[in-house]
C-alpha cells in the first residue's frame, strides 16, 4: 500500500480539526477527498506534508511511518503537495518558480529537461516563461502550481482544490492533465469541493465532515449516493 493514514488527530490550539481520520491509497490510484469548507481536507494534506504535527495517529508511506519526517524529507521521498490557492512565488518568473519546484535536485541538465517536459504539458507556460508569477491569470497560476509540483518528480501528488476559482473550461483542461499525469504513473490524492469533477476522474473517494470521514467508496458509487448527491452535487 502506498499511503495509509490511521486514526489521524490534529489540533490547532483548542480546535480539534481532525478527529480520527483513516484512509488509504493504493499505488497508481486517484483518491478524492471531498467535503464542505472547514471539514479538514487541507489539514489532512498539510499533515501528510508535515507542515502540521498530528496529536495522535500515524501516516505510513510504503509501510514506513513519516509523522516524524521533516517537510523537506517528505518531498525527497516523493510526496509533493500543490497547495490550496496555488501559492506561486509572486516575485519570481515562471522559470524560476519551476526551478524552485526542482529544489531537491541539482543536476542542471535533468532540471532543464524536466522544464521542457512540463512546458510540453502546459504550452501556455512556455509562452510566459519570463513573466513574473504574480502577474499570471488564475488559470495560468494553477497550471504553474501543478507544473512546479511535477518538477519534484512526485510519486504521490497531493492536489488541494485545483479547480478553485477557475472557469469551467479551464477546470476541464486541468482535470484532463491530472488524469494524464496519473496515467503516466503518479498516484494522486485529490482534495476538491467540486465533487462532480473529482469523482469523475477518481478511483475512490472519501467524504469529510467536520474533521471526520463519514462516507467512503468507489468514485462511481459515491456519484450515485443519495447523500453525496444531495450535499455536494446540487441535489441530483
Amino acid at each position: 500500500m502506498m499511503l495509509e493514514v490511521e486514526n489521524l488527530n490534529v489540533h490547532y490550539g483548542a480546535i480539534h480539526a481532525l478527529k480520527g481520520v483513516s484512509f488509504h491509497l493504493e499505488e497508481g490510484e486517484i483518491v478524492a477527498l471531498i467535503g464542505a469548507n472547514g471539514a479538514g481536507k487541507s489539514t489532512t494534506l498539510n499533515t501528510i506534508s508535515r507542515l502540521n504535527k498530528p496529536t495522535a495517529g500515524d501516516i505510513r508511506y510504503r509501510g514506513v511511518s513519516i509523522v516524524e519526517t521533516p517537510p523537506q524529507d517528505i518531498v525527497t521521498k516523493g510526496i509533493v503537495q500543490v497547495p490550496e490557492g496555488r501559492r506561486i512565488f509572486p516575485k519570481m518568473t515562471v522559470v524560476e518558480n519551476l526551478e524552485m519546484g526542482a529544489y531537491i535536485f541539482s543536476d542542471r541538465q535533468r532540471i532543464e529537461a524536466d522544464i521542457e517536459m512540463v512546458f510540453g504539458k502546459f504550452p501556455r507556460l512556455r509562452e510566459r516563461r519570463k513573466q513574473l508569477g504574480g502577474t499570471l491569470s488564475g488559470g495560468e497560476q494553477q497550471m504553474l502550481a501543478i507544473a512546479r509540483g511535477l518538477m519534484a518528480r512526485p510519486q504521490l501528488l497531493l492536489l488541494d482544490e485545483p479547480s478553485m476559482g477557475l472557469a469551467p473550461i479551464i477546470v476541464e483542461q486541468i482535470f484532463d492533465i491530472i488524469s494524464e499525469i496519473n496515467q503516466q504513473g503518479t498516484s494522486i490524492l485529490l482534495v476538491e469541493q467540486n465533487a462532480q469533477m473529482a469523482l469523475s476522474i477518481a478511483d475512490r473517494g472519501y467524504v469529510f465532515e467536520t474533521g471526520k470521514i463519514v462516507l467512503e467508496g468507489d468514485a462511481g458509487d459515491l456519484l450515485e449516493d443519495p447523500m453525496v448527491k444531495e450535499a455536494y452535487l446540487g441535489g441530483g
Binding site: L51, V75, T76, P83, R87, M92, Y103, A152
Partner: protein
C-alpha cells in the same frame, strides 16, 4: 484632555494630515536650501573640503551599507529587526584586531635579513586572515543569536523577538566589556595600510588625501555588495532565501529546509557585519566594546531609508547616510559633532513621513 485630543485627531480628515506632512516637509527643505545657500555664499569651504567630506562619507557609507544589508535580509525573512546586529559588527572588529595583534607579535626575518613582524612581512596574508577571522566569528555570533535568542520565539507575537533582540544586544555589549575591558584599543595595521597616508590629490590649491585604508574599505565593501547581490540573485541558496522570504509554507513544500535557510541568512548577515567591523577598525583605529552601537543604529536608519527588506535599498541607504552625515553638517553650517543628530533626525523623519522607505519596500502578504 486626552478625550479632546482623540476627538480632534479623529475629526481631522486623512487628507489634511497629508497636507500638513507635505507642508512640513517643504518647510524643512526650504530651510535646508536657505541655510545651504547662506553657507555657500560665505564660501567657508572650498572644493577640496567638499571632496574630502564626500569621500569620507562614501567610505563610512560603505560600512553602513554592509551592516544595513544584514538588517534588511533578516527583516525580509523573519519580519523582525535584529537589534543585536551592531554587536555582531563589534565582535567582528575584535576578531580582526586579535589577528593583527598576534601577527604583530610574531617576528620573522625579512628578505634583507632584518627582523620584522609577520604583520609587515606578509601583510596580504595578515589582512586576509583578519577579515576571515572577523567575518567568521561575526557569522557564528549571528548563527547563535538566531538559534538561542530568536528561534525559540518563532511564531510568538512580533514584539517578543524584538524585545529578545534588545536583550541580546545589551548582553553582548556587556559580555564584550567583561571580556575585553572598557578601555579603547587601537588597531595595529600593517604598514601598507597605515592610517592617514594615501594618495595626494591637488584640488583648488590644496591637498586632499585619499587614504589607503579608506580606498581599501570602499573597494572591499563594493566587492562584498556585488558578491552578496550575485549570491541572492544567482545561486541556489539565494533563490531559497528569496523563496523563504516570499512564502515560508510554500518554500517548505518545495523541499527547502526553512530553518536552515534562516540560519544561513544570519550567517551571511553576520559575515558582512564582521567585514564592516574589521574595516571600521582598520580605517578608524580606536574602538572598544561599544563600537557597534552607533554604526548599528545608523545602518538600521539606512535600511529603513532604503525600504526595509529591500537589498539594493539598504546598499543605497547606507551610502546615502554616510554622505549626508559627512557633508550634511557643512551644508547646513552646523557643528560637525552634530552628524549623529543629523542621522537620527533623518531616521525620525523617514519613520514619520515615509515608513516604507524611499525606494518602497519588499512587503509580502505575510507581513502582519
Amino acid at each position: 484632555m486626552e478625550a479632546l485630543r482623540k476627538k480632534f485627531s479623529l475629526t481631522l480628515p486623512q487628507n489634511s494630515i497629508r497636507i500638513i506632512r507635505i507642508i512640513a516637509a517643504l518647510l524643512l527643505l526650504a530651510l535646508i536650501i536657505v541655510r545651504a545657500m547662506d553657507v555657500a555664499a560665505k564660501s567657508q569651504f572650498g572644493a577640496d573640503t567638499w571632496l574630502r567630506l564626500s569621500v569620507s562619507g562614501l567610505i563610512i557609507g560603505g560600512m553602513y551599507a554592509l551592516i544595513a544589508i544584514g538588517y534588511t535580509l533578516v527583516y525580509g525573512i523573519l519580519f523582525m529587526i535584529n537589534f543585536a546586529h551592531g554587536e555582531v559588527m563589534m565582535i567582528g572588529t575584535f576578531g580582526g584586531y586579535f589577528v593583527f595583534e598576534a601577527f604583530n607579535a610574531i617576528q620573522v626575518s625579512g628578505a634583507d635579513g632584518n627582523q620584522l613582524s609577520f604583520l609587515n612581512a606578509y601583510p596580504v596574508i595578515a589582512i586576509l586572515l583578519a577579515f576571515l577571522a572577523g567575518m567568521t566569528i561575526a557569522a557564528l555570533s549571528g548563527l547563535f543569536l538566531e538559534k538561542f535568542a530568536y528561534r525559540p520565539l518563532r511564531g510568538a507575537p512580533r514584539l517578543v523577538p524584538l524585545i529578545s533582540a534588545i536583550g541580546a544586544s545589551i548582553f553582548l555589549q556587556n559580555a564584550g566589556q567583561l571580556l575585553f575591558g572598557p578601555q579603547r584599543r587601537q588597531y595595529i595595521n600593517p604598514v601598507v595600510l597605515d592610517r592617514g597616508i594615501g594618495w595626494n590629490l591637488e584640488v583648488a590649491g590644496s591637498t586632499v588625501v585619499l587614504t589607503y585604508t579608506g580606498i581599501f574599505s570602499l573597494i572591499l565593501s563594493a566587492i562584498l555588495m556585488v558578491g552578496l547581490y550575485l549570491l541572492v540573485q544567482r545561486t541556489k541558496l539565494g533563490r531559497a532565501m528569496r523563496a523563504v522570504a516570499q512564502d515560508k509554507k510554500t518554500a517548505a513544500l518545495m523541499g527547502i529546509n526553512v530553518d536552515q535557510i534562516i540560519s544561513r541568512t544570519f550567517v551571511i548577515s553576520g559575515a558582512l557585519a564582521g567585514a564592516a567591523g574589521v574595516m571600521w577598525g582598520i580605517h578608524n583605529g580606536l574602538f572598544n566594546y561599544y563600537v557597534g552601537f552607533l554604526p548599528g543604529i545608523k545602518a538600521f536608519t539606512a535600511a529603513v531609508l532604503g525600504g526595509i527588506g529591500n537589498i539594493p535599498g539598504a546598499m543605497l541607504g547606507g551610502m546615502f547616510l554616510g554622505i549626508v552625515e559627512s557633508v550634511g553638517p557643512a551644508v547646513l553650517g552646523i557643528d560637525f559633532q552634530l552628524k549623529d543628530v543629523l542621522a537620527f533626525t533623518i531616521l525620525i523623519l523617514v519613520l514619520i513621513f515615509r515608513p516604507s522607505g524611499i525606494l518602497g519596500e519588499a512587503l509580502t502578504e505575510e507581513k502582519v
